[in-house]
Symmetry: none
Subunit: 207 residues, 4 copies
Amino acid sequence: MPLSEKQIQNMELRKKKILEAAMGLFATEGYEGTTIKKVSVAANVSFGSVFTYFKDKEALFYTVVVEPLTELKERVLFFDETSADPLLETKQMLREHFRAFAEMNRYLQLVVQVVGQHERYADVFKELDEFHDVFRGKVGKLVQNGQQIGVFKKQDPLIVATLYTSLLIGVRLNSTDNRYSDVWEQYAVTALNLFAPTEKVTDKGLS
Amino acid sequence: MPLSEKQIQNMELRKKKILEAAMGLFATEGYEGTTIKKVSVAANVSFGSVFTYFKDKEALFYTVVVEPLTELKERVLFFDETSADPLLETKQMLREHFRAFAEMNRYLQLVVQVVGQHERYADVFKELDEFHDVFRGKVGKLVQNGQQIGVFKKQDPLIVATLYTSLLIGVRLNSTDNRYSDVWEQYAVTALNLFAPTEKVTDKGLS
Amino acid sequence: MPLSEKQIQNMELRKKKILEAAMGLFATEGYEGTTIKKVSVAANVSFGSVFTYFKDKEALFYTVVVEPLTELKERVLFFDETSADPLLETKQMLREHFRAFAEMNRYLQLVVQVVGQHERYADVFKELDEFHDVFRGKVGKLVQNGQQIGVFKKQDPLIVATLYTSLLIGVRLNSTDNRYSDVWEQYAVTALNLFAPTEKVTDKGLS
Amino acid sequence: MPLSEKQIQNMELRKKKILEAAMGLFATEGYEGTTIKKVSVAANVSFGSVFTYFKDKEALFYTVVVEPLTELKERVLFFDETSADPLLETKQMLREHFRAFAEMNRYLQLVVQVVGQHERYADVFKELDEFHDVFRGKVGKLVQNGQQIGVFKKQDPLIVATLYTSLLIGVRLNSTDNRYSDVWEQYAVTALNLFAPTEKVTDKGLS
DNA sequence: GATGAATGAGACTTCATTCAT
DNA sequence: TATGAATGAAGTCTCATTCAT
């Protein structure tokens, strides 16, 4: 007797609730600071139910870290590094990236923890690190593109890309707010300097 | 009977060994991942001795995070924000900062943890946050100085300063090495762009 | 609506599968080592179905231990203690007993557990113990019969009977195979000495 | 600072108390039926102290089973299989063996569990099984010795030895008392028949 | 002051049992 | 009746902290 449609939906809802509760707790209280009991209470679910959906705490953590990576990838890798107008592309990219990093606050807090203690979270870090490489590589290509066209000064594109991704995560680490606001808009504008644009860049392109 | 000079020195040595062992463990294994037993073994000291020098685990952690802050402050706040040559001052500052951040790896890993979970480590975070404000303010003044003289383009100096400190911690977070090397040297050079220097900046000033 | 003949047959089949799976698991993994989940998987039946047929784990265990007792009784109490040729009767009994104990390996493993921890399995042990008394009593009568006729030396018949049943279970405990083989045949022959036969006993009667 | 003599003695006492409590519980309630909490209460020791002396439950069980094996070996392998009077030697051996099996009741209950579920307790069973082989071999030699001298009828000595050790453990399994008594004395006398003595054996040698 | 045994709170996890579908 | 998700009691084990020596 297979499960009814309604049951399946209900289970997915419960699983989602658990994941959200777990994400919030892992982000603010850390791995050990988060107990299954706390998660179950926050998710308004019985203690044992957490284990119905996740083999153990480790598996819960893994899912919490890896699953939202899909959304992060989509929001972060959308840009066209082969654009004919790399300056404009970069400006738009910056704005979108800062917006994404502003909005995905809780998740990125988690990412920081994993990256900061990569030896401890080796499995999960591997996933993040692979993404980081892809991300940095793509940014590097855009930088190179801009340099060839002459809108960016000549510099090692990978160094620039590395500094840029570091800047993003660093800003996220140093901020405590969850919303995209004027400050983040300003960050995006100012961060363009990292790419060393040759022309007089005004805010026009972004406004 | 007062303690002899020799005894006092010995105790200080033991305390230092414990602190160093604890720093390494807290940095790589986290707060809960670090047990007093592990610390005592790493410090080559008996289990109970840890409690002779520190009231409890909390106090040990606090000391481990707060005490090295003095060194960090010294290495990071050394620059002269009122310098008559703010461009040169900035270049030198960059190099020294990246060097410091490269070398104080383990400690900064710890800092990242505390900042990333500031709600959890409220007490200790307060100390770090106050330092961060001072640091950012001083950098902001240097930026302002440079803008007035005309070596930097006009931008909100505090935004620039914030991005700069974020970049520093972000680079540290994304790197895994412990030594100052050519890569870090390049970071320092390239990061200057964040300040939007007006003249043609070459590596001369840094080499 | 009463259940159809087919349905009833199906249910009996399912129940039997569960019992067999449970017997194997209880025998090799013990009471606590056996989980309802394992039983359901081994029986190729859903988790909940076990509870459809048995009130709880306790009831399942009880059935697993008590139900096969009928077969054991039949195979073990078949002999005629009033036989006019008690020596021959004893020889045949021995062979059949050892054969039964060789073949009912799994079940007897279970019996050993219950007997070995009779305080813990008081209910179920009671059943086994009553059977044991009957068994021993009947063997005792055969021994007495043989002694009166003079084919066995005089000894306390109950002591002999007790030693004999102990020997049976002891041999079963010390062996790991599941089949009746030459070794078991030899056991049966040699075990006759326990009854202290007066004449020269050869293997003739058994071969 | 090494532990004082007094402290060491106290620790040994505590460890012994735990072992005794554990043996009683494992014997009567089985491995899973025995909880660390029960052991600590029975040993009049705190919960955590059990883990001070034993790595985990498994290690406790192992020690409980393997340590008393030394005593069992001593009490069981004492006899001289090369004796010039193998009949007398056998009679004495029987008496001592039954006495030992009567007195080491609790421990042998444990042995029965391990042997009865050897797959589950593979590690610990190995130790017991090795001992059993030695034991059986030595008994076999004594039987052979007796057969050569002519006090025992010719039979496969190893079969006799196997039946004998099985008888011992079987009797222990079927009895519930803890003391050596008249019944056990009678068992010892009657069990001699298993060896098929040729002469008229009376109780003289044993009384 | 130095040591490490003693303690018990609290975490993770398993699993029998219930019950809605 | 068959199924398997939901639940929470109970067990193992870790580890911070205390304290006697």
